[in-house]
């Protein structure tokens, strides 16, 4: 399931809803992205007052659903969830939640890692940071492309190796 929303989310409640009623689930991997206070500014590290996330309504949901479908195809997931916020967020606030539930931990952990890596380079979001002197758009980083690319030639683990 995917959700794009302005409001905050409760990780505990999301986790409970994700696993409710499915006793085949043996593990859940979660990633929660937060707004970091210290960022790289024009003159080195500096604190930001806030970050505003802009997105492309319609395409965002479409791309997140496609990424989730890709993860479902690669790993035997019982359930998965992506929640991504937009709007103005202050340091310490939650931005994104990725959760993957599976019978065994390997699929849950790998799929969760895959989803956050792909989301960064595929989902149409942009970040405007409010720095000390100015607001500036965050540049895409080559490291994020590299993180996403490492999954492109990785095949899902065979089913038997799930049993770790």
């Amino acid at each position: 399931m995917i959700r794009v929303q302005r409001e905050d989310f409760d990780v505990g409640r999301e986790l409970a809803e994700l696993t409710a009623g499915d006793r085949s689930i043996g593990g859940v991997a979660l990633f929660v992205g937060l707004v970091r206070e210290m960022v790289r500014g024009p003159a080195g590290e500096e604190p930001i007052a806030a970050m505003t996330l802009e997105h492309y309504p319609g395409m965002t949901e479409k791309r997140l659903a496609a990424i989730e479908a890709e993860a479902q195809q690669r790993w035997p997931l019982a359930r998965s969830l992506i929640v991504h916020r937009y709007g103005r967020l202050e340091p310490g606030e939650q931005i994104v939640l990725v959760a993957c539930a599976s019978a065994h931990r390997e699929a849950a952990l790998a799929a969760c890692h895959f989803l956050i890596d792909w989301l960064k380079t595929q989902a149409p979001f942009w970040k405007l940071e409010e720095g000390e002197a100015e607001a500036r758009w965050v540049e895409a980083e080559a490291a994020d492309d590299a993180a996403a690319a490492r999954w492109s030639d990785r095949r899902p683990p065979p089913k038997r190796s799930e049993r770790l």
Partner: protein
């Protein structure tokens, strides 16, 4: 044709969307960007460096050689930075 702009592309152009009818000579994304540059100083500044731009046609990422047609939704924006 519906044009959408995001992030600093939107800020430089001064609007997030506009409804335009490019001439029939505009056949693909590259041609569309070249035509848009002539619309205003803001368009020219936003679209000056195509290497810094990404494009989606009807909400799918496409290359600059992708065709554009009347009725398409074409979005122009910087590389994405979600997560």
């Amino acid at each position: 044709m519906k044009l959408l702009y995001f992030a600093w592309v939107r800020a430089r152009i001064g609007t997030g969307s506009e409804e335009l009818s490019p001439p029939t000579s505009v056949a693909d994304v590259a041609g569309l960007i070249a035509w848009l540059k002539g619309r205003s100083a803001g368009h020219a500044a936003a679209l000056a460096d195509p290497a810094r731009l990404r494009v989606a046609v009807n909400q799918d990422y496409v290359g600059f050689d992708h065709p554009v047609r009347p009725g398409d939704e074409v979005a122009i924006f910087p590389p994405v930075t979600g997560g």
